[in-house]
């Protein structure tokens, strides 16, 4: 497998080399192909809290395990985007940095986009293939247009998938001020491309997602920062929902919160709002999950995987006899782009309650970010500091340490 990746890498970087010396865009008049990509790398420093879980092998007699203090390659992306005639557009995007991740969690499988858009229907567009899901504004804003290194816990892909294979139908109204999305997907999310991906579970059901957003006084792109200092106040509000049922999941249910892939019924609703004016911008986002686990375990797997059963008929928590639980949280972000300094300054609050049947288990983080544009978003120095607003001795919490991440992104396009 590694040999294949190596050959793919060699071929791809040869292609980049050719592109760097010749064409970024190739056209024969009918077919236009653009080659682009991005690299980002950072240094991460974590301020470790002195708790047993932070010591080597979780052993209190061992010293603190500083394994997260390191450089990291976040992105090594290559993107091919094109258009064929009037009716077809396509996009293939891969991240070589994620190909090295062979875990079965599958949060970042390496393939980011592999889809095409058919515009021949006239009344609406159809996006077919592996694609970013039209759910949640924060998720829809590309990472490279942000001063942050890490998305909020709520929206980074731990509570719901951000990409999947399927079909999206989309249409806009009133000169793109209203956008409507509806789609059906596998429900496996990014894990479709993990080593356990492929077939559906015995329910054979799909995940359905719908989103509507409204902007005024003009269309509002999925960007969070007012780089152009718009001269009139602009806002956008969106609502979205998704539902999926899985009899049992063949996947690990997630990295930290066991919410991403659930054996059972999972319904999510969310709302978001964005505002910008004269360099200032504000975003608010809210999501709530309702999860009704089946507690069925895949009989073909003997991996001892965790199945979400907290708060069910067979495993009650406290005095709450219920067959479901809720999870969710909010993200609030305020930013300013200082044009003379070519700098974005941003502060963000986010929280996530992964299970409402437990008390004192809400994760809360205050993040500060600054980004200096050497050449717009194409070359940008970024720094993010995350401060945990929680009791660091609380064993129910996953994220207890503050950390700072500093690095640079470079987009070639």
């Amino acid at each position: 497998m590694k040999t294949h990746y190596l050959r793919f890498l060699q071929a791809s970087f040869f292609f980049i080399y050719i592109g760097a010396n010749a064409q970024l865009t190739i056209s024969n008049g009918n077919h236009v192909l653009e080659l682009s990509g991005a690299v980002s790398t950072f240094y991460n420093h974590r301020f470790y809290t002195d708790v047993p879980g932070n010591r080597i092998n979780n052993d209190p007699s061992q010293p603190i395990d500083f394994k997260k203090n390191r450089f990291g390659l976040r992105d090594a992306q290559l993107q091919l985007e094109g258009r064929v005639g009037h009716d077809f557009e396509y996009e293939v995007q891969v991240d070589f940095a994620d190909f090295a991740n062979t875990s079965d969690i599958g949060e970042n499988p390496g393939v980011m986009d592999a889809n095409f858009t058919y515009k021949g229907l006239k009344v609406l567009e159809a996006i077919v293939g592996y694609q970013k899901l039209p759910y949640g504004r924060n998720s829809l804003v590309p990472f490279f247009y942000s001063p942050y290194w890490i998305r909020p816990e709520l929206t980074r892909g731990e509570t719901y998938s951000r990409r999947d294979a399927g079909l999206t139908l989309t249409r806009n109204f009133w000169r793109q001020r209203i956008n409507v999305y509806a789609g059906a997907y596998t429900g496996m999310g990014e894990q479709l491309l993990s080593k356990f991906g492929g077939d559906n579970d015995p329910s054979g059901s799909l995940e359905y997602i719908g989103r509507v957003d409204f902007s005024y006084p003009a269309r509002y792109r999925y960007r969070d920062y007012d780089i152009t200092h718009v001269p009139i106040p602009m806002f956008s509000v969106g609502v979205n929902a998704r539902t999926v049922f899985r009899r049992f999941s063949s996947f690990l249910p997630g990295d930290d919160y066991y919410l991403r892939s659930i054996s059972g019924q999972k319904d999510i609703i969310g709302a978001d709002a964005s505002f910008q004016y004269q360099g200032f911008s504000v975003q608010l986002e809210w999501h709530q999950l309702k999860i009704t686990p089946t507690n069925y375990v895949d009989p073909n797997l003997n991996t001892g995987r965790f199945r979400e059963d907290r708060g069910t008929a067979t495993r009650k928590i406290g005095d709450k006899p219920t067959n479901y639980f809720r999870a969710g949280g909010i993200v609030a972000q305020a930013s300013y782009f200082a044009k003379p300094l070519k700098t974005i300054l941003s502060v963000r609050f986010d929280n996530l309650n992964p299970n409402d049947l437990l008390t004192n288990n809400t994760e809360e983080t205050l993040s500060f970010a600054a980004a200096y544009m050497i050449n717009g978003f194409n070359a940008m120095l970024k720094a993010q500091y995350q401060h945990r607003l929680i009791d660091r001795k609380n064993p129910l919490l996953q994220r207890i340490d503050d950390q700072i991440r500093v690095g640079m992104q470079f987009m070639f396009r």
Partner: protein, 237 residues
Amino acid sequence: MMRLLFLSIILPLIFSFQKPLKLQYKRSFRIDIPEPSDVCLNAKKDGYYVVSDNGFLFETDLDWKVIRKADYVGYDFEGVYADSKYVYVVEERSRRIVYFDITTLQLIKKVEIPYSGGRNKGFESLTWNKQKTCFVSITEKDPTTLFEFDESFRQIAQYDFNIASDISAAQFHEGKMYLLSDEDRSIFRLNAETYELEKTWKLNILNPEGLVFGPDGTLYVISDDLEKVYQFENTLP
């Protein structure tokens, strides 16, 4: 040391709040053209040609009412210029100049103008430089480059540009070259021979994508996102 650090961060922030001098518009009105991306005066000076991101070419009267629409639908029209024979339209993504007959608005031919930059960062403007008797087209950004073409759109020369974040339109008017920047919301006046910057005006318009001088020299700027025309009090001082 701390004070110096404080001043170096805070002072530019304070100055960034100060509003620069802006060109004030007299009135604005909507036009029935989706996503207008550039405009030019026709050769008879009795109407305008307006192109749209959606690949449409429209002809309007001097009151900006649509009179005609070309049958041909392109990909991504971003620049337009007309003489007494043709309407020339820049198709940004496919790197082509599309010729339309001035009387029928029928497609006549297409000419390739190769450019290897980003797909959506290609030629964004088109005008005729009377001083140098050549077409001028400027790429939008990354990089912003001014290209000169002869009458058959063979490239004559190119000039690197660093005066703006992007360029969205160009017009030749009374011996000067005027450029419009969407991201900087500015109009630049250049020497038409040397392309040296002579003067800059700030605009208070969202997403300005085209500018044109009317028959009496009145300046109009069109906003793509708002699909509006802004008429200014006087011609540029």
